[in-house]
């Protein structure tokens, strides 16, 4: 039995290729039933996100050649054979474990430290588990991988510090105001970054979003999308004293918010803190408003410098994560290498011998009067019992040629005797 991985990701394939290899939910179900029907693949999990498409599988000894697996991969995705081949990578055994652990820790992601991948891996695994496409090896591999992903996020800073301008702006808002649900935000002008920032704020539960735009229809359109209120640009500028977060990204060539006007606004709002996010170029807000009490202004350069710092910090954290991954790979590998017949039999015998030794010892203390001769006989007798009991299962296990049966026996044996709980952790 072997762990095998075939797949492509943003590292190897351009976006148009990745688009061809996306598995929809229904396609994924079909693919899994197909995998089940094929004779060479024992277990399979299909991981499909917008940046990667991967198939984790265990195969029997006769199917260790990558050719047929690649063919399956094409077939699953409904693509002509060979189309994806130049972009595919293959991994085996230890390298599969390492790859999955790195993926789930987001080290292999386009944005290192991103959060979604852990959920995506869990979902992919659950789908295979529910359709009974996983077994001894992949269950253990994925359970462990999810634990590693969780550990990495809890014990390192890989996920802290946003690495996009809009999420940095929202993170700042959360560190300025106690509870965003009590605050109103205003988006002035349009533009991708501004809209995304507004969208994140709405996601974070901001109380209300006001959209102000030179063209009212555009404002109405955006307001409708984010369940906000549309106003004209003129009205919007009058309403600033009532909002706590302003995202400004107009195409105006002159600042729309000067220092004197801002001073008036602060007077009107009795110095309640206000967070101004200026992502327009040229700038919409006079930078001198910074001198006013309780005005916090971040422009594009400020946000970008935070993004750069955070990205730098994540790089440093990635080294720690690599170390965690390596430790966990070693651990799982110790288990994985024991998984074939010989080590399992050895473990079973070792376990039986431990029990025998312990019980004989106990009997000897109770029967202090036994002579040395008696003791030898008892040792011999108990050894014979153990050997006879284990003889048949050992022979059966060695002689099972069908790999699926053999894995089943192996799994049962390890499970029934609790071999994975002893000495492998």
């Amino acid at each position: 039995m072997h762990l095998t991985l075939v797949g492509l990701s943003h590292h190897t394939a351009p976006i148009d290729v990745r688009d061809q290899a996306v598995l929809t939910k229904s396609l994924q179900e079909k693919a899994l039933s197909f995998v089940k029907a094929s004779s060479g693949i024992l277990e399979a999990v299909l991981l499909s996100t917008c940046n990667r498409s991967e198939m984790y599988a265990t195969t029997d000894e006769e199917h260790i050649d990558p050719g047929p697996i690649e063919a399956w991969f094409h077939e699953i995705h409904g693509v002509d054979e060979g189309v994806l081949s130049p972009y595919l990578y293959h991994r085996r055994d230890e390298a599969v474990i390492r790859h999955l652990f790195r993926v789930v820790s987001s080290l292999d992601s386009m944005v290192v430290g991103e959060q979604q991948i852990l959920g995506q891996v869990r979902e992919a695994y659950m789908q295979s588990l529910n359709t009974k496409n996983t077994g001894l090896v992949l269950n253990r591999l994925f359970e462990k991988a999810l634990a590693v992903g969780k550990q990495v996020r809890e014990t390192t800073e890989i996920g802290t510090g946003s690495v996009s301008v809009s999420s940095v702006a929202v993170e700042l808002a959360r560190k300025i105001f106690k509870d965003l649900r009590q605050h109103t935000a205003m988006l002035i002008g349009a533009g991708e970054t501004g809209e995304r920032t507004a969208e994140y704020l709405v996601d974070q539960g901001v109380k209300r979003l006001i959209v102000a735009n030179r063209t009212y229809d555009r404002a109405a359109d955006l307001a409708h999308r984010y369940d906000g209120i549309a106003v004209s640009l003129q009205d919007g500028l009058q309403m600033i004293s009532d909002v706590d977060i302003v995202i400004s990204s107009t195409g105006a060539t002159e600042p729309v918010l000067g220092r004197d006007r801002m001073a008036e606004i602060m007077h009107d709002r009795r110095n309640r803190p206000i967070f101004l996010i200026d992502i327009a170029a040229p700038r919409d807000i006079d930078p001198r408003v910074r001198d006013l009490y309780n005005v916090i202004l971040y422009d594009m350069d400020d946000l970008q410098s935070v993004v750069d710092d955070n990205a730098e910090a994540r790089k440093a954290e990635a080294l720690k994560v690599e170390a965690i991954v390596e430790t966990e790979v070693e651990r799982l590998l110790a288990w994985y290498q024991n998984l074939s017949i010989a080590p399992t039999i050895a473990q079973l015998r070792h376990f039986a011998e431990d029990v025998r030794h312990q019980e004989v010892g106990r009997a000897f203390t109770q029967l202090g009067h036994l002579s040395d001769e008696d003791r030898k006989i008892m040792e011999k007798m108990t050894r014979a019992i153990v050997n006879k009991l284990l003889h048949q299962p050992t022979v059966q296990l060695r002689n099972t040629s069908d790999p699926e049966h053999r894995d089943y026996h192996l799994y049962s044996l390890r499970h029934l005797f609790g071999l994975d709980e002893h000495g492998n952790e």
Binding site: E157, T160, R174, K175, F177, K178, Y293, N294
Partner: protein, 273 residues
């Protein structure tokens, strides 16, 4: 002998809790937060036992002299902190509060003294009320200092675009300001009550007002009251919330320290031999 062991347990408890709070702050390790709180609860339990034992032994409330009052002060801060931690679901303040508790308790232990009988002047129910109210005010003002300091730090990080680890661990400005306001209000009410009972009591004990009004400790307490009153007035009239309120609180706490420690060195009235 038992009392030394108890003192040791209190100190070790607070010291370990401080270390674990630091560890929790830097590593964000999820388990360590609960351990930090558990060590704090353990230290507090020992500490409460000590205060009760002391009160029983001396048959007066345990805040006569520096040894007892410092210890009582440390205990109050720890209790208030634990309450806030539960209330706001936030352990990040622990890193800043626990060293204060540890320091106060250490000073108290160093100054350990045998139980003194209560001077006749203090054998009055007013004494317990006056001192308890004053100490509650001091403990609340300690929190205005800590939240004020953190507010200034957090604002510095935000203004200077230094949004790293400490920034991500500290609570939001809005939350710090709210905690600061609550602590100021509580402190102000208790300090006013403490001053009022003090005046009532003093007018009964002395015929003229000059001897106690010119007492350095009384003057410092008055100054403290004026500073915190200013904080509240400017907050509500001129909108001086946030950083300015934070800075005024820090000044107010400096005045508390002066009243509590500094004035003790040259006052006559508040040392009752």
């Amino acid at each position: 002998m038992g009392i030394y062991i108890l003192h040791g347990m209190i100190l070790v408890g607070y010291a370990v809790a401080t270390v674990v709070y630091f560890r929790h702050f830097w590593t964000k390790h999820p388990g360590s937060g609960i351990y930090a709180s558990l060590f704090l609860v353990f230290a507090l339990a020992c500490h409460s036992a000590f205060l009760i034992a002391r009160a029983v032994e001396s048959s007066h409330a345990p805040f006569v002299g520096l040894h007892e009052s410092m210890s009582f002060f440390a205990w109050l801060i720890a209790v208030v902190y634990l309450f806030l931690e539960r209330r706001f679901h936030d352990r990040s303040l622990g890193v800043f509060v626990l060293p204060l508790v540890l320091a106060a308790q250490t000073v108290s232990t160093v100054l350990m003294s045998p139980v003194d009988p209560l001077p006749p002047l203090l054998q009055s129910p007013w004494f317990n009320f006056h001192v308890t109210a004053s100490f509650l005010a001091y403990a609340a003002f300690s929190f205005t200092f800590i939240t004020g300091l953190l507010y200034v730090m957090q604002m510095y990080y935000i203004h200077h675009r230094r949004v790293g680890l400490v920034f991500s661990r500290l609570p939001a400005l809005g939350m710090l300001d709210e905690m600061n306001l609550k602590a100021t209000l509580i402190g102000w009410v208790f300090l006013s009550a403490g001053i009022a009972t003090g005046i009532w009591w003093a007018t009964a004990a002395w015929d003229s007002i000059t001897p106690w009004l010119l007492d350095p400790k009384v003057l410092c307490v008055m100054l403290t009251w004026v500073i915190y009153t200013c904080q509240l007035v400017t907050r509500y009239t001129a909108g001086w919330q946030g950083e300015r309120a934070a800075i005024i609180s820090m000044a107010g706490f400096a005045s508390v320290l002066l009243a509590y420690l500094g004035a003790g060195l040259w006052t006559n009235l508040h040392i009752f031999d």
